[in-house]
Protein backbone atom coordinates (compact mmCIF):
# COMPACT_ATOMS: atom_id res chain seq x y z
CA UNK A 1 0.00 0.00 0.00
CA UNK A 2 1.25 3.45 -0.86
CA UNK A 3 0.86 6.60 1.18
CA UNK A 4 -1.55 8.03 -1.41
CA UNK A 5 -3.75 4.92 -1.52
CA UNK A 6 -3.98 4.93 2.27
CA UNK A 7 -4.92 8.61 2.28
CA UNK A 8 -7.68 7.77 -0.24
CA UNK A 9 -8.91 5.05 2.10
CA UNK A 10 -8.86 7.48 5.02
CA UNK A 11 -11.17 9.95 3.26
CA UNK A 12 -14.46 8.10 4.02
CA UNK A 13 -13.35 7.52 7.62
CA UNK A 14 -12.62 11.21 8.14
CA UNK A 15 -15.83 12.24 6.37
CA UNK A 16 -17.89 9.94 8.60
CA UNK A 17 -16.21 10.79 11.90
CA UNK A 18 -16.07 14.54 11.26
CA UNK A 19 -19.51 14.55 9.60
CA UNK A 20 -18.16 16.41 6.59
CA UNK A 21 -19.29 14.58 3.42
CA UNK A 22 -17.23 16.78 1.10
CA UNK A 23 -13.99 16.72 3.07
CA UNK A 24 -10.84 16.17 1.01
CA UNK A 25 -7.56 14.98 2.49
CA UNK A 26 -4.00 15.65 1.43
CA UNK A 27 -0.77 14.57 3.02
CA UNK A 28 -0.34 17.95 4.64
CA UNK A 29 -3.89 18.10 6.03
CA UNK A 30 -3.75 18.51 9.81
CA UNK A 31 -6.09 19.13 12.74
CA UNK A 32 -5.49 22.86 12.51
CA UNK A 33 -6.73 22.96 8.91
CA UNK A 34 -9.98 21.01 9.37
CA UNK A 35 -12.99 22.40 11.21
CA UNK A 36 -14.23 20.04 13.90
CA UNK A 37 -11.01 18.02 14.20
CA UNK A 38 -10.83 18.58 17.94
CA UNK A 39 -9.44 16.34 20.66
CA UNK A 40 -12.54 14.15 20.96
CA UNK A 41 -12.83 13.84 17.18
CA UNK A 42 -9.16 12.87 17.14
CA UNK A 43 -9.85 9.99 19.55
CA UNK A 44 -12.76 8.92 17.34
CA UNK A 45 -10.53 9.03 14.25
CA UNK A 46 -7.81 6.97 15.91
CA UNK A 47 -10.29 4.30 17.03
CA UNK A 48 -11.93 4.18 13.60
CA UNK A 49 -8.53 3.78 11.92
CA UNK A 50 -7.48 1.07 14.39
CA UNK A 51 -10.62 -0.87 13.52
CA UNK A 52 -10.34 -0.33 9.76
CA UNK A 53 -6.76 -1.59 9.56
CA UNK A 54 -6.86 -3.95 12.56
CA UNK A 55 -3.85 -2.25 14.09
CA UNK A 56 -3.02 -0.89 17.53
CA UNK A 57 -1.30 2.43 18.04
CA UNK A 58 0.84 3.55 20.94
CA UNK A 59 0.37 7.02 22.36
CA UNK A 60 3.94 7.99 21.52
CA UNK A 61 3.45 7.04 17.87
CA UNK A 62 0.38 9.25 17.65
CA UNK A 63 1.97 12.19 19.41
CA UNK A 64 4.71 12.24 16.77
CA UNK A 65 2.23 12.68 13.90
CA UNK A 66 1.99 16.12 12.33
CA UNK A 67 -0.53 15.50 9.56
CA UNK A 68 -2.53 12.95 7.57
CA UNK A 69 0.52 11.97 5.55
CA UNK A 70 2.36 10.99 8.73
CA UNK A 71 -0.66 8.94 9.78
CA UNK A 72 -0.70 7.18 6.41
CA UNK A 73 3.00 6.37 6.78
CA UNK A 74 2.40 4.96 10.26
CA UNK A 75 -0.51 2.85 9.01
CA UNK A 76 1.64 1.50 6.15
CA UNK A 77 4.35 0.57 8.63
CA UNK A 78 1.89 -1.11 10.98
CA UNK A 79 0.04 -3.03 8.25
CA UNK A 80 3.27 -4.28 6.69
CA UNK A 81 4.30 -5.73 10.06
CA UNK A 82 1.01 -7.46 10.73
Amino acid sequence: MSRNSIIEELVPIFRDVLDQPDLELKGETSASSVDGWDSLAHVNLVVAIEKRYRVKFALGELQALKNVGDMADLIEKKVSKS
Binding site: V43, V46, V47, K51, F57, L59
Partner: protein, 140 residues
Protein backbone atom coordinates in the same frame (compact mmCIF):
# COMPACT_ATOMS: atom_id res chain seq x y z
CA UNK B 1 -19.81 1.43 42.30
CA UNK B 2 -17.20 -0.35 40.22
CA UNK B 3 -13.74 1.17 40.07
CA UNK B 4 -12.29 -0.52 37.00
CA UNK B 5 -8.98 0.89 35.87
CA UNK B 6 -7.78 0.66 32.29
CA UNK B 7 -5.60 -2.35 33.00
CA UNK B 8 -8.62 -4.22 34.45
CA UNK B 9 -10.70 -3.93 31.30
CA UNK B 10 -11.02 -6.66 28.69
CA UNK B 11 -13.13 -7.05 25.57
CA UNK B 12 -16.16 -9.10 26.62
CA UNK B 13 -16.36 -7.73 30.16
CA UNK B 14 -20.02 -7.05 30.86
CA UNK B 15 -22.38 -5.61 33.42
CA UNK B 16 -26.10 -5.36 33.96
CA UNK B 17 -28.66 -4.06 36.42
CA UNK B 18 -32.41 -3.84 36.74
CA UNK B 19 -34.57 -0.78 37.19
CA UNK B 20 -38.18 0.36 37.06
CA UNK B 21 -39.38 3.72 35.82
CA UNK B 22 -42.19 4.92 38.05
CA UNK B 23 -44.48 7.91 38.19
CA UNK B 24 -42.03 9.98 40.19
CA UNK B 25 -39.27 9.56 37.60
CA UNK B 26 -41.70 10.55 34.83
CA UNK B 27 -42.75 13.68 36.74
CA UNK B 28 -39.17 14.69 37.46
CA UNK B 29 -38.13 14.14 33.85
CA UNK B 30 -40.88 16.54 32.74
CA UNK B 31 -39.56 19.11 35.23
CA UNK B 32 -36.00 18.73 33.96
CA UNK B 33 -36.57 18.40 30.23
CA UNK B 34 -39.71 20.46 29.73
CA UNK B 35 -41.02 17.76 27.40
CA UNK B 36 -44.79 17.84 27.97
CA UNK B 37 -45.81 15.84 24.92
CA UNK B 38 -49.16 14.16 25.75
CA UNK B 39 -47.91 10.74 24.63
CA UNK B 40 -46.02 10.76 27.94
CA UNK B 41 -48.52 12.75 30.01
CA UNK B 42 -52.02 11.68 28.99
CA UNK B 43 -53.20 8.05 29.17
CA UNK B 44 -56.23 8.68 26.95
CA UNK B 45 -54.09 10.34 24.29
CA UNK B 46 -51.61 7.46 24.38
CA UNK B 47 -54.41 4.86 24.09
CA UNK B 48 -55.88 6.73 21.12
CA UNK B 49 -52.48 6.41 19.48
CA UNK B 50 -52.60 2.64 19.95
CA UNK B 51 -50.49 2.29 23.08
CA UNK B 52 -51.70 0.59 26.27
CA UNK B 53 -50.84 3.69 28.30
CA UNK B 54 -48.43 6.57 28.60
CA UNK B 55 -45.12 5.90 26.95
CA UNK B 56 -41.97 6.40 28.99
CA UNK B 57 -39.77 9.16 27.58
CA UNK B 58 -37.18 7.49 25.38
CA UNK B 59 -34.48 9.73 26.77
CA UNK B 60 -35.52 8.94 30.34
CA UNK B 61 -35.11 5.21 29.73
CA UNK B 62 -31.88 5.93 27.86
CA UNK B 63 -30.54 7.87 30.84
CA UNK B 64 -29.74 4.49 32.36
CA UNK B 65 -26.95 4.13 29.83
CA UNK B 66 -25.30 6.89 31.82
CA UNK B 67 -25.58 4.78 34.97
CA UNK B 68 -24.25 1.75 33.11
CA UNK B 69 -21.07 3.66 32.28
CA UNK B 70 -20.69 5.84 35.35
CA UNK B 71 -21.46 3.20 37.95
CA UNK B 72 -20.75 -0.18 36.37
CA UNK B 73 -18.61 -0.19 33.23
CA UNK B 74 -16.03 1.15 33.96
CA UNK B 75 -17.56 2.96 36.93
CA UNK B 76 -15.85 5.56 39.06
CA UNK B 77 -13.21 6.68 36.55
CA UNK B 78 -15.53 6.90 33.53
CA UNK B 79 -15.85 9.88 31.25
CA UNK B 80 -18.69 9.54 28.76
CA UNK B 81 -17.65 10.52 25.23
CA UNK B 82 -20.77 9.66 23.27
CA UNK B 83 -23.80 7.41 22.89
CA UNK B 84 -25.66 6.40 19.74
CA UNK B 85 -29.10 5.21 20.80
CA UNK B 86 -31.65 3.45 18.63
CA UNK B 87 -35.16 3.28 20.06
CA UNK B 88 -36.66 -0.10 19.22
CA UNK B 89 -39.90 -0.35 21.24
CA UNK B 90 -41.81 1.73 23.80
CA UNK B 91 -41.45 1.26 27.54
CA UNK B 92 -44.32 1.90 29.90
CA UNK B 93 -44.57 3.20 33.45
CA UNK B 94 -43.86 0.36 35.87
CA UNK B 95 -42.02 -1.86 33.37
CA UNK B 96 -39.16 -3.82 34.85
CA UNK B 97 -36.15 -3.04 32.67
CA UNK B 98 -32.77 -4.73 32.43
CA UNK B 99 -29.90 -2.51 31.34
CA UNK B 100 -26.88 -4.41 30.08
CA UNK B 101 -23.65 -3.70 28.30
CA UNK B 102 -20.50 -5.44 27.13
CA UNK B 103 -17.13 -4.02 26.10
CA UNK B 104 -16.56 -4.54 22.38
CA UNK B 105 -13.40 -2.54 21.75
CA UNK B 106 -10.50 -1.12 23.74
CA UNK B 107 -8.12 1.46 22.30
CA UNK B 108 -5.02 1.95 24.40
CA UNK B 109 -3.58 5.34 23.35
CA UNK B 110 -6.40 7.44 24.76
CA UNK B 111 -7.91 4.78 27.04
CA UNK B 112 -11.12 4.66 25.03
CA UNK B 113 -13.59 1.82 25.40
CA UNK B 114 -16.65 1.00 23.36
CA UNK B 115 -19.68 -0.77 24.77
CA UNK B 116 -22.56 -2.49 23.05
CA UNK B 117 -25.56 -1.95 25.29
CA UNK B 118 -29.28 -2.59 25.38
CA UNK B 119 -32.33 -2.08 27.56
CA UNK B 120 -34.68 -5.08 27.69
CA UNK B 121 -38.17 -5.21 29.20
CA UNK B 122 -39.62 -7.99 31.36
CA UNK B 123 -40.94 -9.81 28.30
CA UNK B 124 -37.49 -9.95 26.75
CA UNK B 125 -38.24 -7.24 24.21
CA UNK B 126 -35.49 -4.80 23.33
CA UNK B 127 -36.51 -1.24 24.23
CA UNK B 128 -33.37 0.35 22.85
CA UNK B 129 -29.87 -0.47 21.70
CA UNK B 130 -26.84 1.72 22.14
CA UNK B 131 -23.24 2.04 21.10
CA UNK B 132 -21.38 3.81 23.86
CA UNK B 133 -17.97 5.49 23.75
CA UNK B 134 -16.25 6.30 27.02
CA UNK B 135 -12.84 7.09 28.39
CA UNK B 136 -11.11 6.00 31.57
CA UNK B 137 -9.61 8.90 33.49
CA UNK B 138 -7.98 7.25 36.45
CA UNK B 139 -5.69 8.87 39.00
CA UNK B 140 -1.98 8.61 38.28
Amino acid sequence: MNEYRWSDLKVGLDAQFETTIGEDAMRRFVEISGDVNPLHMDDAFARNRGFPGRVVFGMLASSFYSKLVGVYLPGKFALLHGIDVEMKAPAFVGDRLTVKGQITHLSDPYKRLEIKAAIINGEGKTISKAKIRAGVHEPA
